[in-house]
């Protein structure tokens, strides 16, 4: 049996120690196996972050393939079945062990005390600290980290330094059941199925199947109850109506001359409301829902810069053009306006629209131009919309042509 070979090779060859071939070249080993470069450390090379203290070095990053990283069993001979392990100890090992153990105990206790300090710190900061102060959250976090980390480091050091290390071996058992088990189970199910009589009674079987299928229809109920608002044509329209004044998010109606050349303003519809006495007032307050599809940018270009699309020659007014602010790609508000190049950039996916050319999409994932809002100025000098957008604003959808 090859067991002897496996378990007791430990006398002569300390260092076939993982690591790259370059490492080995740098630390040559004599053919006999003794390290040529001197230093007993040849075997603790490898990806090591922390050189050991007296109480043993640690090997960080156990190599994934341990067959390639023989460790020298200089001190421990493996236990045979039922026997006790025979340990070859260097002289004074007992004394060294005892000191190392005491040091480890103190270290573990230190970390547990760190945790107590952290917990106390957390509680004190929580009740005494000033919630608005800049130090509050960092102190809380730091104290909590001490409270948790102290116990964590303590336990792990305890396990690593004070608990016995072992190679416990456990059998794996195949999951597949024996053939007779399988046969018996299959037979049980088959007999039970025969007892139900489903195979013999097609009427019962078919009506049950039918009832089950129809029952599935119940799923539709909660699903459709999620909304009372059918899509219908909702996506085709916005809040803009003929004669709606342009109002800013602050509630200011925009007048001709308010904006300088090269200016941009986000505007919403102020819908005209006819009072009982016949006067018309404009509702400057815009709800969240109206903002979501009616947001529009009003840009003032220098005279002659605009190149209107055919049929839209009168949609601009004195160099002012208005386009939907909702990106035709994914619906973000497009509003990074470069006043020199007249590009509108969407901050979400970086589609670029050319304002001078009817807000045509010239870069990025958007494929449609931003819809244009036809604007005019009423007799009081306020900007008004001539009508709603002539196409759906925002991202495209299946029903859109």
């Amino acid at each position: 049996m090859s067991k002897q070979d496996d378990d007791t090779p430990g006398t002569g060859h300390p260092a076939d120690d993982g690591g790259s071939i370059f490492d080995r070249a740098k630390h040559p080993v004599k053919p006999s196996g003794e390290p040529a470069g001197g230093g007993a450390d040849a075997r603790t090379r490898g990806p090591e972050l922390k050189q050991g203290r007296d109480d043993g070095s640690e090997r960080l990053g156990t190599p994934p393939h341990q067959t390639d990283s023989t460790r020298a069993p200089a001190t421990v001979l493996l236990a045979e079945a039922g026997e006790r392990g025979v340990e070859v100890r260097p002289p004074h090992a007992e004394e060294i062990d005892r000191r190392a153990e005491r040091r480890a105990e103190r270290l573990v206790a230190f970390w547990f005390i760190v945790s107590v300090v952290g917990t106390v710190g957390f509680i004190v900061t929580n009740f005494v600290g000033d919630k608005q102060a800049e130090y509050y959250t960092p102190c809380m976090g730091g104290a909590l980290a001490m409270a948790m980390g102290g116990i964590g480091f303590g336990i792990i050091l305890w396990a690593k330094r004070l608990m016995p290390h072992e190679e416990a071996v456990q059998e794996r058992h195949p999951f597949a059941s024996p053939a007779e088990e399988i046969a018996a189970t299959e037979e049980t199910v088959a007999l039970g199925y025969a007892d139900t009589g489903l195979a013999r009674r097609p009427l019962v079987r078919r009506t049950l199947l039918g009832a089950g299928t129809v029952l599935g229809g119940l799923l539709v109920v909660p699903l459709l109850n999620l909304t009372n608002s059918k899509p219908g044509k909702q996506l085709d329209h916005t809040r803009w109506v003929s004669g709606a004044r342009l109002v800013t998010g602050e509630g200011n109606l925009v007048k001709l001359g308010d904006m300088a050349i090269g200016g941009i303003e986000t505007v919403f519809p102020a819908v005209p409301v006819t009072e009982a006495n016949g006067t018309v007032r404009y509702e400057p307050k815009v709800t969240l829902h109206d903002k979501a599809d009616s947001a529009t940018v009003l840009i003032r270009l220098a005279p002659g810069e605009n190149h209107p699309r055919p049929g839209r020659e009168d949609w601009a007014y004195a160099g002012h053009v208005a386009y939907s602010k909702i990106c035709t790609h994914a619906g973000c508000p497009v509003s990074l306006y470069e006043a020199q190049t007249h590009h509108l950039l969407c901050p979400c996916h970086q589609s670029v629209f050319n304002v001078l050319d009817g807000c045509r999409a010239i870069f990025g994932p958007a494929s449609r131009s931003l819809p244009q809002l036809a604007i005019d100025v009423d007799k009081d000098g306020y900007f008004i919309a001539r009508h709603d957008y002539t196409e759906p604003v925002g991202p495209a959808f299946w029903e859109r042509s």
Binding site: G61, E134, G249, G262, G263, T341, H343
Partner: protein, 270 residues
């Protein structure tokens, strides 16, 4: 290569000739405007006028020395630089005060750097360019006005008008083809209002008809708050939102915990 340079040079020369002729026209027009202005301008005290004239004279001397090679001897502009007639003193104070002008090297956009002129010189330059007529004047923002400004209202205006480019935290963001909206961390309240009024480079103009002076001051106050207020909840990670957060989660969070795994999995020699 040299052919191309030559042809480009020829084209430039013809442009220059054309510019020169238009510059003559412009000069005549300017002279006429100047005479008219001199005739009709409101008179201050003699001392003020003398001071102002002195500043304009000194500013012109500085201008000829530092700016005229690109913007032209009479600020009429050149093929590399725009005309400064009508840009106003606010634009000069902003561009020179933030060190963007004089331009070190042409690029997609002028970078903010330490100004090479002191404030007196900048004021003289601004006075000279301002004397060319038109354009927004350098705003005066007193600390009292800043104190009175409504911070929350400034924040709302900032989010509505500025955040789309300069980012909600004022850290700046890129525009197309190498241009960018700069970080606002170093901008003074005066510079912020100047930028709104003059629309430097890619920035749109926000005139007083859109955002009045009180609102502009409030925005400036909010921008200063963004860069000066202590950050709640630890380091702000460059105020760049989820990208540095994700990076930190991977490098420090996952990296650190993997190091802990290595340590726990390391074998303690017995």
């Amino acid at each position: 290569m040299s052919d191309m340079t030559a042809s480009v040079g020829a084209a430039r020369a013809s442009v220059r000739r054309r510019r020169r002729s238009s510059a003559v026209v412009l000069l005549v027009a300017l002279a006429a405007t100047g005479v008219l202005w001199a005739a009709f301008a409101p008179r201050g005290t003699a001392q003020d006028t003398a001071d102002a004239n002195e500043a304009v004279r000194a500013g012109r001397a500085l201008y000829l020395q530092g700016c005229s090679s690109c913007h032209g001897v009479n600020a009429q502009g050149g093929n590399q630089a725009p005309s400064l007639v009508g840009v106003g003193s606010a634009a000069v104070d902003f561009q020179v005060g933030t060190g963007r002008m004089p331009l070190a090297a042409p690029g997609a956009q002028a970078k903010r750097k330490d100004p090479i002129y002191d404030q007196t010189q900048i004021d003289q330059l601004a006075a000279y360019v301002g004397s060319l007529g038109g354009g927004p004047k350098k705003p005066v923002i007193t600390s009292a006005a800043l104190d009175d400004a409504d911070l929350a209202h400034g924040g709302e205006l900032y989010r509505a008008n500025c955040a789309q480019c300069h980012q909600a935290t004022g850290a700046g963001a890129p525009l197309t083809y190498g241009k960018y909206a700069p970080d606002l961390g170093k901008a003074t309240p005066t510079q912020i209002v100047e930028a709104m009024r003059t629309g430097p480079e890619s920035m749109p103009v926000f005139g007083p008809g859109q955002i009045d002076n009180a609102d502009a001051t409030a925005i400036a106050k909010y921008v200063r708050h963004l860069s000066e207020a202590p950050s709640a909840g630890g380091d702000a990670l460059g105020k760049y939102g989820p990208v540095p957060e994700g990076l930190l989660a991977w490098l420090v969070g996952i990296g650190g915990l993997l190091a802990v795994c290595l340590w726990i999995g390391a074998r303690q020699k017995v």
